[in-house]
Amino acid sequence: MSIATLAPKIRFRETQIEMAHGAGGKASRRLVEGLFAPILFGSSTEPLGDAAHIQINGTPIAMTTDSFVVKPLRFPGGSIGELAINGTVNDLAVSGARAEAIVVTFVLEAGLPTEILEAEVRAMARAAETAGVRIAGGDTKVVEHGKADNMYVTTTGIGRLLSGVDISAQSVRPGDKVLLSGPIGDHGITILLARGDLEMEADLRSDTRSVLPLVEALVNAAGTGVRWMRDPTRGGAATSLNELARDCGHGIVLFEEKLPVRDSVRGACELLGLDPLHIANEGQFLAVVSAELAESALRALRAAPGGEEAVMIGEIRERPAGAVLVTTLYGGSRLVDMLVGDPLPRIC
């Protein structure tokens, strides 16, 4: 049989790449599942998680990679350097692994002031120290002025799986509870305001941080009762939960009054017609925990430093199968879909 006849079917029909394909929502998923996965991973039907699990000489290893393009480079509460370390540490953490080592690739635009680069490298060193991960190597490329936006950073990390964890969307059952580590939308709204187009100000900081200590607290408390975890970055909590709903085949019901959203984030979302559930986070994670262990898991999360604002936001039900439903305080309800493209403010 020739290679050609083995070539998998590509279902990605869009003729060009749009910004939406990188926004973490539906279009991103189409690109990954319709083009990358069939060519690169063959017929594997395993759901795509935050990190790949591989075996080296019988030792299970988690591996992940992430690129960071953010404008502005620095924003209240963080900068691209911290994001690049925390993002990869968190992708490993929510796949049940402790980051051991990270390698870094810099794509730099000619003309970038050294001062800015140095500040970011120092930010990375600090974030790595805080997260307890070693930066083991790296690579640098420089492109012509105007061919990149100051700097892009890619980090690739490997981690050792935490003992006593076995997470997968397939293990999620009706009755399980959905936990969230803290308020949503801080990062996305901070970035939107930091771009300065809006002439709006708010006392708000990015939530970028390593969630590993919180994940460990959760896992220590609930062990195999932890069914699934995800850090809801681009596309927000709604997109992560819709992916889970699709992968596990059950429904996810969220209680609107439980959703932790700061007033400044809510205010900005009200003004701009955005849904906090679609806004990016860089220091929170979602977990599904079995009903029996959910209460003790939540207590453990709240007792951990930085986990004080953790809440139980919803539960898994049989219906609406494959979808996410938000119930309001007064008995109304609405479906919440994945993010379509970038969140666009609504004015008129």
């Binding site: 109304g332 479906l335 609504r346």
Partner: protein, 375 residues
């Protein structure tokens, strides 16, 4: 959050829901149109339909400016701005609306300079900062956004800014309501009147709906309690056999409107003899054009515009949905060829469009949720 949470208080909302049930005559079916897309969005977002009895039906009106814009206007605007050294500036609402050869976002992906702005003043700022380019502000909206476009035109003229113009698609709400009431297949019992538009035009322009067409109108705010209270007020009028214009949104809407905004509009705009509305066809005196005294800042007077007309795909039933004759899910394309990601009609693009609102928040909910409510 002040001025928001009070209007989402569960006990008050539950009470309003009970009052609606009490007022609605069980032997009667009520068809109430919410004119404004903002109301449509809120109704779905807060799940308000779940609180209404089956015989109180909400019909989604034409008040979504993106939805009623014919595709030819988008093509015209994009073809102008596709010239070298042009910047196309528009609200985020416009960015995913499909033209014949793609949406503004797709043009941007192909290299056109497309910018999302938050106000027309931002577009003016772009023009100041890019003297080497010509900035076209693609203006959309009812009387809600028209005053800010008007003030921007006044400013551009005062500054003598020559590299800025407005491609004006502003429309007015009253002729659209008239067209709907004139539609032979339409039967309505009353209107939840537009809140934002009324902050500018006030409540008087609706008088004829109550007096001549004999339908009650309640101008409404956008929070759950506002909308439910407006429905209560409409049902009260219907029960008492009254038809009048009432203002539920008094905290924002002055009865006489905003005279400064109206003056700015009168200074810069005049009525077009007729304008095409998507789904509704040509409606006379239903849109604004820029006065000749501002010709230099009017993209249509300054440049030659192709005047493209595109007929909607035959299978798409946007017009029927827009007039409230069909529910979104009754359109043949709904949820199949036409989804928020790959919209065929504009009602599926804007989150205020009834199709997108229905798809995002309601689509097959009744099927999917059956059995969930009791858990």
């Amino acid at each position: 959050m002040k001025f928001v949470d009070e209007f989402r208080a569960p006990e008050l909302i539950t009470k309003a829901g009970e009052e609606i049930r009490r007022l609605a005559d069980r032997n009667r079916h009520y068809r109430i149109m919410e004119v404004c897309g903002g109301h449509t969005h809120a109704i779905y977002r807060f799940g308000l339909k779940d609180l209404l009895p089956d015989n109180v039906e909400l019909i989604h009106g034409p008040g979504c400016p993106v939805c009623v814009l014919p595709m030819g206007r988008i093509d015209d605007g994009l073809s102008l701005a596709a010239q070298p050294d042009f910047i196309f500036a528009a609200f985020g609402d416009m960015m995913r609306v499909p033209g014949t050869h793609g949406s503004p976002l797709e043009y941007k992906a192909r290299g056109m300079d497309v910018r999302i702005v938050y106000s027309p003043a931002d577009a003016l700022k772009l023009a100041r900062n890019h003297p080497e380019k010509h900035v076209i502000f693609f203006a959309i909206g009812f009387e809600t956004t028209a005053p800010s476009t008007a003030l921007t035109l006044v400013r551009a003229k005062a500054e003598g800014l020559s590299n800025f113009s407005v491609f004006c698609n502003h429309v007015t709400i009253i002729p659209a309501i008239r067209a709907i009431l004139d539609s032979p297949d339409m039967r309505l019992d009353g209107f939840v009147g537009p809140g934002h538009v009324s902050t500018v035009i006030g409540c008087r322009p609706y008088d004829w709906i109550a007096k001549d067409a004999g339908k009650p109108v309640v101008v409404s705010g956008f929070e759950p309690l506002d909308i439910l209270q407006s429905i209560v007020m409409l049902l009260r009028q219907l029960r008492n056999g009254e038809t009048k214009v009432e203002n539920q949104y008094k905290r924002v809407v002055p009865w006489e409107g905003n005279s400064a905004a109206l003056r700015a509009m009168a200074e810069t705009f005049e009525l077009r003899p007729y304008f095409e509305w998507r789904g509704l066809g040509f409606i006379s005196q239903s849109a604004l054009k820029i006065r000749s005294s501002y010709a230099q800042w009017d993209s249509e007077q300054r440049f030659s515009v192709p005047g493209i007309r595109v007929t909607d795909p035959k299978a798409a039933q946007c017009g029927e949905v827009l007039k409230g004759v069909l529910k979104p899910a009754q359109c043949k394309l709904f949820g199949r060829e036409c989804t928020p990601e790959q919209p065929v009609g504009a009602l599926m693009v804007s989150s205020e469009g009834s199709c997108a609102a229905y798809y995002n928040y309601e689509h097959s909910k009744t099927v999917r949720i059956a059995g969930a409510a009791s858990n």
